[in-house]
Symmetry: C2
Subunit: 197 residues, 2 copies
Amino acid sequence: MARKQGSHSDISGPKIRKAALRLFAQKGFAAVSMRELATEVGVQAGALYNYTSDKQTLLFDLMRAHMEEVLSAWSAHPPEVAPLDQLDAFSRFHINFHFDRAHEIFVAYMELRNLTPQNFQALEALRRQYETELEVILISGQKSGVFQVKDTRVTARAVSAMLTGINTWYRDGKTLSRPEIVEMYVDMVRGIAGVRV
Amino acid sequence: MARKQGSHSDISGPKIRKAALRLFAQKGFAAVSMRELATEVGVQAGALYNYTSDKQTLLFDLMRAHMEEVLSAWSAHPPEVAPLDQLDAFSRFHINFHFDRAHEIFVAYMELRNLTPQNFQALEALRRQYETELEVILISGQKSGVFQVKDTRVTARAVSAMLTGINTWYRDGKTLSRPEIVEMYVDMVRGIAGVRV
DNA sequence: GTCTATAATCAGATAGAC
DNA sequence: GTCTATCTGATTATAGAC
């Protein structure tokens, strides 16, 4: 024990990413120093640079990994046929996926302004790709007449903002359970989409 | 001209607040230095401390001023009787009020984590006060049966997130005008509240 | 009220020993 | 791969002249 040196690439990598996500989410990217992150992980500051070329790249890699996981998970989701079922499935997927990724979603939506222009463009492309998944659903329901939507792009953004907003206040173990939250939001998303009640 | 010294309390104060809001919104509180802010205003860094005791207080004062303005403006709003009219009025008020305060709303909702615990508590009280204004409307409409709402607190948060989200993407002069945005969101808020179409 | 100058600390990133 | 040590520059905030 008390080993001060040695190779830990198999455990330090995940520890760094996990600690960085938590610290960036809680204090903000600019407010977290590499020294603080290193202390949290249990290494010296210099050791972090074996895992990332610089602080900016660390942030970008975390954000990109999150968006790619979202897109991948949604792609692997069982498909629905009817637009209304698709919309409900999207709501449930989004909420459940982010319940256990509070830090990820916080960083992904709050630290966009701390990305370099190039990294911002790359991440914005992924974000738009995800938003388009929702917009496609809205368009199909709009065509079939089951949704009353004036502008699918604006509606997709409104739905996204509402769903993502859950993570700014919901904490487990309070008065409401996760399934209760999910079903309430499924209903409210239907309302935004103009589904006749 | 080219006056390097002298008294400017009447103009430096507002200039500092305006520049701080813009910089904090664009780059984040932690990423903006007092030197950068001073340069933006056109003074030296030390001169800023004639207007604020420290950087934290500057942030808090900006956020508190914004929330108090929101509450004050909503209080001065002409009252409506019917819950549906109240809800529409709230949607219109919130959107229009924040159209010209993009920086303020960005700072107010993104920099909460950079407040000291004491300042956070104070601001959270104001934020909750505003949210309660909306919840009261939802409760009255719930009682009268014009709204189909399961949980007024959750619904108020959902509406807030959706309305506030406008400022993350809307810019003037694009395809959509402000009144168009307002009316679309008024409809979507009705949908969240379960108003039968 | 603003300036210049400075104190005291901390930032990101690197070099070389092990 | 991690450590210690360090470089270079930036940070908040203050002191005293004008």
